[in-house]
Amino acid sequence: MALLARLRSFWRHALHRSDLERNMSDEWQFHLARRAEDLVESRGLSPEEAMRIARLEFGSVEKYKEEGQERLLATLAAFFGALALLLAMIGLYGVLTYLVTHRQTEFGIRMALGADRASILRLVMTDVVIVLAGGLASGLAVSLVSVTLLQRMLFGLEPRDPMTMVSAVCLLSAMALLAGYLPARRATRVDPMVALRSE
């Protein structure tokens, strides 16, 4: 349960970050407004001119731009990550559907001999779990080694952050199990008579 609590606080923190950014821009706005007022008072500038100078002094334009680019890059990376996940799901789904169709006769015979739906489901899902375990093991190994190369791109996050790893493992497992469950359920719907007759 301690793990659950930590996961929850991790996600709350991640969501909290957008709050933080809003606060930040509020704070900068406040700074610029106050600076502009002071400039109006001390140098007798027009409010527009004072605001322009306040912005220049703040020197934030370049920083905003840089930040925007980094954010764009991060958004793109997340988008491609999601795309890769979707493709992996479709791939797993396709392979398993093929496998299930291929073994239709086998499932028919098993069911004719008394296997119930749960055991057929287990049979297919065991394959899914084996594939998943292999994928997770190699994926974790590669990411643990390669993440040090990305260290410079991480903000507010340690490389090998346990919560990030746990979240990724949970997400990938859930997606793989979902992609595997659909064909597996189809395997349990095989009508023994149809399967045997088609031989």
Binding site: E27, H31, G59
Partner: protein, 111 residues
């Protein structure tokens, strides 16, 4: 305009801690106070102030609270934490040692 000195790397944090230790301030107030206590002799890049403030807050040296400023605008106020005071004291001592050593070295005469 009086000539301004460049801020040495790593000294902005110390200046901010000092400024905030004199009383809670919003970001702009911290800037004004630094200008005041340095007699305007140090050039502070305004955009660099906030990353430093966030860094110090993240390290637990500063505390923040949203409040209303003197002219009724929402502003974030920074105050120093006990850890911040401790750091200020330690860094001030380190700074004095550095200044002493540098001055001694630069005043050395050819024997």
């Amino acid at each position: 305009v009086a000539p301004q000195a460049e801020l040495l790397p790593g000294t902005l944090d110390l200046l901010i801690l000092k400024a905030v230790s004199l009383g809670a301030q919003h970001g702009y107030g911290v800037l004004l106070r630094i200008e005041q206590i340095t007699g305007g002799a140090l050039a502070i890049e305004q955009g660099a102030l906030y990353p430093a403030l966030y860094r110090l807050e993240h390290q637990g040296l500063l505390d923040t609270e949203w409040g209303t400023s003197d002219n009724n605008r929402r502003a974030k106020f920074y105050s120093i934490t006990p850890a911040g005071r401790k750091r200020l004291k330690a860094d001030t001592e380190r700074w004095n040692l550095t200044v002493l050593a540098m001055n001694t070295a630069l005043r050395a005469q050819e024997a």
